[in-house]
Symmetry: C2
Subunit: 349 residues, 2 copies
Amino acid sequence: MARRKQAVTIRHVAAASGVSLQTVSRVINNEANVRAETKSRVQAAIDSLGYVPSIAAQRMSGSRSYLILAINDRERTIADWRARQGTDWVDQMLLGGMLTCAEHGYRMIFELIDTHSDHVERELLAAIAALQPDGIILTPPHSDNPQIVTLMAEQDMPFVRIGSQRADAGIPVTMDDEGSARTATDHLIAAGHRRIGFIAGPADYELSGWRVDGWRAAMAAAGLDTAGLLDVGDFSRASGHAAAQRLLDAPSRPTAIIASNDQMAMATLDVAGQLGLAVPDDLSIISFDNTPIVQFAQPPLTAIDQPIAATASKAVEMIISHLKGEPTPAVLTTVPASLIRRASVAVRG
Amino acid sequence: MARRKQAVTIRHVAAASGVSLQTVSRVINNEANVRAETKSRVQAAIDSLGYVPSIAAQRMSGSRSYLILAINDRERTIADWRARQGTDWVDQMLLGGMLTCAEHGYRMIFELIDTHSDHVERELLAAIAALQPDGIILTPPHSDNPQIVTLMAEQDMPFVRIGSQRADAGIPVTMDDEGSARTATDHLIAAGHRRIGFIAGPADYELSGWRVDGWRAAMAAAGLDTAGLLDVGDFSRASGHAAAQRLLDAPSRPTAIIASNDQMAMATLDVAGQLGLAVPDDLSIISFDNTPIVQFAQPPLTAIDQPIAATASKAVEMIISHLKGEPTPAVLTTVPASLIRRASVAVRG
DNA sequence: GTGAAAGCGCTAACAG
DNA sequence: CTGTTAGCGCTTTCAC
């Protein structure tokens, strides 16, 4: 492979428009101190030559790389991809993140990093050193991983923590997990349910706790007891199966169950079938996430829709605005989720 | 934001190990002409300092960027993301492409480009100029878009054309569309079907034609007529609906239909329901792609599984091997697809 | 307002 | 086998 050089460089533009490199640079970066007439002449040269600055060169000279790194958990992401169950977290992140990046002349680059490994730090630092991104987006469970957050805090690089509420480092953005859990619970209470079970997610996701909090709060507000109605899974179908089984085997069987993700909700549906419980007549179900599969369940599941695309978009905007030196919002940014009503909730006579 | 400099550079490593920059560079790039002892000393310094080369600097100096660009159709990709029907083409590409890139120290960066726009060329050239990737992966319908292929051929940059069979430029890789269509058709013939309808994809995807060819060949080999059994859609659900309707309204109604993608197959299922035809008893259906939704259809659909992850992985390997100067395979690379049997095909007495 | 010079981190080309 | 020199394309810093 021959030594690959840029086809059109800033030098060509400078020559074509009869100005110095510096002036072209000023036009590219939309800086002040360029006469309008000069600017338009340079711009014309840029357009006619089809010049696009090399981000490698821009980075080298100490400016931006126009790259934003979005980091997801390797193990879970690959497992989801292999399972082919339609989990579309990555797609929705790309939808919101890539398009918003593109609007601002940035590019999103997607990386997978192990949370549990003892070399998280090395992996992350290697990605940063190699790519030199302008900002980083952390998703759960990374966004609450103290090792990662501490490391990031030392980097002098803006980073957003999706699914975190902690203001200790980075910019937290949440999807209103507590409020969503309250909404789901209230929806069931309004339908006449009294014993509403809840299958929580794993503890290394802080949002797992917030969802439990929302459910507890709604139950308490309605004067309902939660004893024996809480169980825990790890977001896997198998764990949801076990949790649903325990909940439905209990002496005071719930008439409704809220599961903290779709896979566990689907497992609950399976268990109901095995126990001969009709959904929604004998058991109502609400799930979290609203990935594609729940539309195709029998019956289609009522679900809390996680606004992943909107959140990723927001995350990108916050990083870029931080880069521009604009002040970071003082209050926690919350992207609202919504309840999608389908056929898995029955009104209880 | 302060001028961001690399934390650890090649200079630090050189100083720490008492050699020149060039020697460190040789070690990094695993070049010859370094004494084993020197090499291990340098490597030790690299490890202890946690040094990772900056890809921007590597690119600037005329070497690799270690970036491979995967290009998909903007309109269709975004439509799929928004529809949230579980189409996992992108996920499977990332699964195969990203992981294989990572194995070789490369990174895959994902770009969306409009096929139909009149500024495809500008978009593509801008991406190349900005990122300076080492290779490009084109997917359908880009891989057969003459404008794009011609442009790429002028770039002196290796590119793989997924879903193309043309050896005129770039490296073609196919997923055996013709063979798969034959397999699906033979499967139905073996089950006793004689009138097997086929819903083709749009003409701007060359693979649409190959699938029709495979169906035709299998029908001919079995001595079956295809008159009145072919219709066309554009991969959308609506077009599949219309095509299925025409096929099933015809005087000699088919007993089985093969649809060129999942959405059109799902539409066929809908039409069957509307016409009061039981699937599979009155109408058998086979779809192409095997995206997650077909598992959840009622009944679950027998489908040709498109090996997207394996193909993307292969594409990356071919680019990297080309970069290493290894010879490009003389014969067309074909990644085999497989038939996944589910409940939508009935044996015909 | 505009330009000239220096340097970012790395590798190609050439010396030895 | 190892080192030196020059330069990639761009922006920073400083001059004018």
